[in-house]
Symmetry: C2
Subunit: 700 residues, 2 copies
């Protein structure tokens, strides 16, 4: 369907202006300029001709099939325009007009009205409040960006493999200009605006199948349907096209700004990040990092491994680059002895291990400098190499020789990523880019870009493996989830899922409590059971380490305490469990976001979750290997891995529980709001939930 | 003394070359070119004339006073050259020659030999392996950087307020070129190389007093004398000159690279960072951030408060900037209602709270856009404002109007920092910089620079306050620190310092243990006392929660367990203490670095220290307010501040202990290697050390 957006055989511009600088004039002007060969119908009841083309009073008056209509009239006239478009049986409309849901409640109503007209007429809608779309191959430019006017009208990007899909027109144009500044070639561009119908997921899915597109750059603020987005991202991953995503809202201040900017529900940034990561999309934090990585993806191959060679003509910068590589998760494998020897023969005092510092002699001898790079490529075998060349790009007597020697190496090692950190006049940097190098002014930024490229290279294989070993869970046949509001019910659910839970018997009298404690032997835990008191500790409903002898007395005391604090609570009894000692207390949680779906969280229990926010998130479901990856991701992982002389915890049992819970959460996302298993104690052998809370989703 | 380095009345160039492109020829060539008005004596026994100047066979043959000698001969000839310089009573020599301590053991010996000759002759030495120094005001250019050759010899920076002191010549030159690229004006430049005599601290101290210097940019790898560096940094702080520091070695890989690069002892990066922060220096992580902040410091005033206003023509970028501001510790105060109202009158759907999104209309109406900026300045009162202007710098029909309107605001609000994030041709960015704006291409980078500027602005007042309320400790009169190797001795030391310690009695028999436990009443802790077993827990020398009734039996068991595991250990007895329950377990440590001095660490105890590295470091000594700042700095601070329904811990008692320990550590740094107080339990009222370990410094 979006084929008609980028390559319509015929297009009508509703509100076409004779002024090529107005939003209604630009699509006509730009499409003519770019050699669009389809039929272009300006619609303007007040004109007989627009920019040299015959003008039409309405779309329906054209009397020929129209693939795409651009609506560039004020919001108040949009309903009439859409009626006209629907009457003419146009399958797709791009609505530039603003003043809808992004503006006010009246605007929201107007937007719904317009959408209804479109739906009834079988018209798909991009927008409203959309900056449109364009395709450099077809020459159809249905947008009103002023960026093409730059440099007296030659502000067009070159053709290339990158396509941009942005929720925000302004951010989309900003990215467009940055790509042009860096000579990164563009294929297609689309801004989805208010997304009343066509959304980012549609655009990503289309671009995943688009032959001209090899790299997708996406700006996203919110999402109505995580499942659709996941499907689109998976299509891009399957087509082996990297999806690079910029998303605002990591901070509370940023999230508030996003919420006020778009009509979309502001989903949790953490969950959104987990969704993107699962489906192989790579998220960047800043515009310049995004553009760096886009350049790398459009020009470089993938990295076979996350490892890097560093060659420098400054020992200090060698160290700075090593810091950045280590911080970015790259390995810095040492140069093999043979290579070290060869380098030392060149400069006896060179640092040859990796990072490699060729030293001052290489600053004044380009043959020598190139030899160091050559040996690093030959002996080091690094899939990626960053060379710090300081200001050599400005030294006239060195530059040409340096370039020609490096180009020879570039040709000899076509499968390697070679990044140059060099200060140079812009035209010389551009030459080196044309030679096939990634070029940066800042060495840390060069290393960071290689780290991001390693991330891109690993993202798709990882995405493919997430469901490898999902446990086969029998369909859930327990009590209705909507009723599982107290601990006894929650533990019953866990048992059915196959997650081990500490034994607990519900007792309703002091005598029963004493009997059960005696049967258990040793200390017990008493917990009040009440559907009205989900947070038992805060309600005074828990007694730990109760000796068998005092169980009866404690039962009475516990009931009395809870009754006096919560006189209205229904109390079904008291759960008696054996006290569990030892092991590592972890936290397992489920959170269902109405738009994004079900997610599972894992962390070390207690203050680690609350104060340190040391949590890993994954969309549900996932297999055991992915659960293990999740476990290893938290900073506190050493606590499970035998730190401080502890026994190593049973990671298999933990992974099994996470994976099983993820399957259950995915299947029952519609019935759930959240699940907390806190603590889930992991021993050297086995693991055990000590407490659980299920919050069912309230009926709509 | 460094006056002679930058403005000598006369200078000799030993090894002066007739070739102006050789290291020995460059100082002659460059100094002539830059109009140096002092006397220049080329020394070259094989020439009668060098670059148009009379050449001399030796420095001593000149027969006139020489302020500064540049030695540009191979290392093998350096001793003879230095003898000549000493004979001529030259007070300062700059040694370009490499091949000394940075190369090999022989080189180290040669360096010492040369230094001895210099010392005996009263010659101060910059280098060896130094790229020298220069002063744009005097025109004396004692360096061999090829960067001045750029652009056919016009590669000189402009004059300005920034001076550079770098341990590495290559990094120093790289910074120099970046300053020139950004039109940041330079005063003086010096590279210290191997620092056999003159070091960075000398240079910083000199520049702190230098009238031409307002901002110091420093690249440092290591330090032999933290006290001298602290003194120099304090001088810069007192002169109100920001010191911006780049230091490699945050990662292990980076630290190793530094160690192999310089002869200096690689000090702990954490300690170094604490030392810099104490004395008001601001550390940057990457070259481009360093240059951004240098530009800001050289052009902008300080910030009155760490708060920011954000104006955008894109809601998405407004959110991205808010994320960056929040991450950088900046406040984003909401626009007062009056300002919000004024903005809404301009654009009804603008986001007006802060971040401010003027929306699409402002992209095509420069008067409207400028009005938003004006209202943000007038009503918001923000000390710093970042405006995201996307690609407007490229739009010919808008740029001049935009610029003239913004310049008017720049003039109306001279005390505010105004940063523009704008895509524009380089010459237009330069115009905006000349107008007094900070100009960036990336909005996140603009906000990060404002955050760094806020840090600079707060650094000096903070440095001044660190010693405000240092407790008055009586001179230490306890047992010799060298003998305080067991817990009993360590606790005695703490008691004398005035740090509360849980009571403990040394008992030497089971009967005594039983008596003491009975006297205490309740459970006790038993800990073996032995100077040979500093790590009691790991040695099996601790029993906790021992009931009074079983104290005798446990005493025997403990002694037997330790004796069998450590038959050779001297055991002086067992310490009996009451069990302490409740409170928050914290960690207090002292570490003395031989080069940098004594430092105090604070963190939450247990795994928080070991797994999460959640520690704050401060150089000793410091007062109570600084101790409170340190306590608030750790991520786990909420645990002390009443998180999870706990009582708020007694921060006053904790701060008092930290501050007292810091005074003791500073006074006795020479005798100490480390102190661990772990745990130091902080209750709602009061605090108590439960265990302590002192490691005295081994005699040299």
């Amino acid at each position: 369907m979006l084929e008609r957006l980028f390559r319509p055989r015929s297009a009508a511009i509703v509100g076409a202006s004779t002024d090529p600088c107005k939003p209604g004039g630009m699509p006509v002007h730009y499409s003519k300029l770019r050699g669009y060969t389809g039929l272009l119908y300006p619609v303007n009841p007040g004109a007989s001709e627009v920019q040299g083309l015959r003008a039409w009073p309405s779309v329906s008056a054209i009397g020929e099939p129209v693939d795409c209509a651009v609506i560039a009239v004020p919001a108040a006239q949009s309903i009439a325009a859409m009626q006209d478009v629907a009457l003419a049986r146009v399958p797709l409309a791009v609505v530039f007009s603003a003043g809808f849901a992004e503006l006010s409640e009246e605007g929201r109503v107007l937007q719904e009205q317009m959408l209804r007209v479109a739906r009834e007429g079988g018209v798909r809608v991009l927008g409203p409040n959309s900056m449109g779309a364009f395709d450099l191959a077809s020459g159809f430019v249905a947008t009103f960006s002023s960026s093409f006017e730059h440099h007296g009208g030659s502000g067009w990007p070159t053709k290339g493999p990158v396509s941009v899909a942005s929720q925000s027109g302004a951010v989309g144009v900003d990215i467009l200009v940055r790509l042009r500044e860096r000579s990164i070639g563009l294929a297609k561009w689309v801004a989805t605006g208010n997304q009343c119908d066509v959304d980012l997921a549609d655009c990503i899915e289309f671009l995943a199948a688009d032959a001209d597109t090899r790299v997708l750059v996406v700006y996203v603020e919110g999402c109505r349907d995580g499942g659709r987005l996941a499907q689109a991202l998976a299509a891009a991953a399957a087509a082996d096209k990297p999806v690079l995503v910029l998303k605002a809202g990591t901070s509370e201040a940023g999230a508030n700004a996003v919420a006020s900017h778009t009509a979309s529900l502001a989903a949790s940034d953490e969950l959104f990040g987990a969704l993107l990561a699962r489906h192989g999309a790579v998220r960047m934090r800043a515009l310049n990092e995004l553009i760096d990585l886009t350049a790398a993806c459009s020009r470089a191959q993938r990295l076979a491994a996350p490892s890097i060679g560093l060659v420098s003509i400054s020992g200090g910068v060698a160290a700075l680059m090593a810091d950045e590589a280590a911080g970015g998760g790259l390995e810095i494998p040492p140069m093999p002895a043979h290579g070290e020897r060869r380098m030392r023969e060149l400069v006896s005092f060179a640092a040859t291990r990796n990072p490699i510092d060729a030293g001052a002699p290489a600053m004044a001898d380009m043959a020598l400098l190139a030899r160091f790079v050559e040996i690093a490529l030959e002996d080091g075998g690094y899939p990626a190499l960053v060379c710090f060349l300081s200001h050599l790009g400005y030294v006239d007597r060195f530059f040409d020789e340096l370039r020609s020697r490096l180009v020879r190496l570039r040709c000899r090692f076509p499968d390697r990523v070679i990044a140059l950190a060099i200060l140079a006049p812009r035209e010389r940097s551009a030459l080196l880019e044309q030679d096939g190098f990634l070029v940066f002014d800042d060495p840390a930024r060069a290393v960071a870009c290689v780290a991001a490229l390693a991330h891109v290279s690993a993202a798709r294989p990882h995405a493919d493996r997430c469901l490898d070993d999902v446990p086969a869970l029998a369909p859930y046949s327990g009590p209705p989830i909507a009723m599982a509001t107290d601990e006894a019910a929650a533990r019953a659910v866990l048992e059915i899922i196959g997650i081990p839970v500490v034994s607990a018997r519900l007792v309703t009298s002091a005598a029963q409590a004493a009997d059960e404690a005696a049967r258990i032997g040793g200390a017990v835990a008493l917990k009040v059971a009440s559907p009205d008191l989900p947070h038992k500790t805060e309600s005074g409903g828990v007694m730990l380490g109760v000796a068998a002898a005092s169980a009866a007395q404690c039962f009475d005391a516990l009931i009395a305490r809870v009754r006096s604090a919560h006189p209205a609570a229904n109390i079904s009894g008291v759960l008696v469990s054996p006290m569990v000692t030892g092991g590592v207390e972890t936290f397992i949680g489920v959170k269902v976001d109405p738009a994004l779906g079900a997610f599972v969280a894992f962390g070390i229990g207690g203050v680690f979750v609350e104060v340190y926010r040391d949590l890993a998130w994954r969309p549900a479901p996932f297999g055991r290997s992915e659960a293990l990856a999740m476990i290893r991701e938290i900073r506190g992982f050493p606590l499970l891995d035998g730190a401080r002389g502890r026994e190593r915890a049973d990671l298999g049992a933990l992974a099994e529980a996470l994976s099983r819970l993820s399957v259950f959460a995915a299947r029952h996302a519609a019935e759930l709001e959240s699940i907390d298993i806190n603590p889930f104690v992991v021993h050297a052998r086995g693991a055990l939930a000590l407490d659980a809370l299920i919050v069912p989703r309230a009926p709509d």
